[in-house]
Symmetry: C2
Subunit: 151 residues, 2 copies
């Protein structure tokens, strides 16, 4: 049951300030098997299907050395998400919680992060397992898993 | 030894496209003990000093329930970073590597991510250990550690 703003009982939205403090550049697109939200897994599985991170020029020139890692951190832009919720009930289950106490895609800066298993490189594409996002999701960053740099 | 563009031997920069594909809103500022880059640790330590994530309104209204978690993922904006490097040599050690094979702050979208230990909430501030960023760094997101949602 939602009201005319699309809110469930107890959810709270804010008059969000303009998102103009910094700008992002999309460095590529993510190809996954999931074309609608209902089909997306709630969280990626390291034994899930292979997904392709397709880098666009000039950023495909920044992959040298990535193949030495087993796991990569992937950052992507959840471009269909509303950005004004303070309290939300992801599944209408119990009391609403603060946006920052949830990994919901609805957030002031809708950036998704995933730790994925590196399968390999194929030209300007990076193949990984462990994602949960929609096909066509904009890619914004890619880094080696931080475990590789433990002190 | 750097050239007049500030590049070390073998580093490659690109004519970076405008960063206008999406916009960010800064949700707060991070207070840390480090006021210049040379003093920052290379990577945060879970037993490092307590740092404060100071949320600004209206986003301080989105913290309800966060105190139930032991670890949080923190996303921040590395606002002093150049964004045009494809190949870089972080410490001039050996061959340059692709930007995406490094966790360097210099990247097309200079977003830092850290897994931090939650120490507690104090009004509109969140206290954590495990960061490595400069004092005053803009905060862009905060989520429970994904481990809490393993399938």
């Amino acid at each position: 049951m939602v009201d005319r703003d699309g809110l469930r009982p107890g959810e709270v939205a804010t008059a969000a300030p303009a998102a103009s403090d910094a700008g992002l550049v999309f460095i590529g697109r993510i190809r996954t098997p999931w074309t609608d939200r209902a089909a997306c897994p709630r969280q990626g599985r390291r034994d899930g299907p292979v997904c392709r991170l397709e880098l666009c020029p000039p950023w495909d020139g920044a992959l040298a050395g990535l193949d030495a890692f087993e796991a990569v951190e992937v950052l992507y832009w959840l471009d269909r998400s509303r950005r004004d919720l303070l309290l939300q009930s992801p599944r209408a289950e119990g009391a609403p919680r603060g946006t920052f106490a949830l990994r919901s895609p609805l957030r002031p800066n809708p950036i998704g992060t995933a730790l994925a298993t590196l399968v390999g490189l194929e030209g300007s594409a990076v193949l990984v397992r462990g994602l949960d996002c929609l096909d066509g999701t904009p890619l914004i960053d890619l880094k080696p898993d931080r475990c590789a740099f433990s002190p």
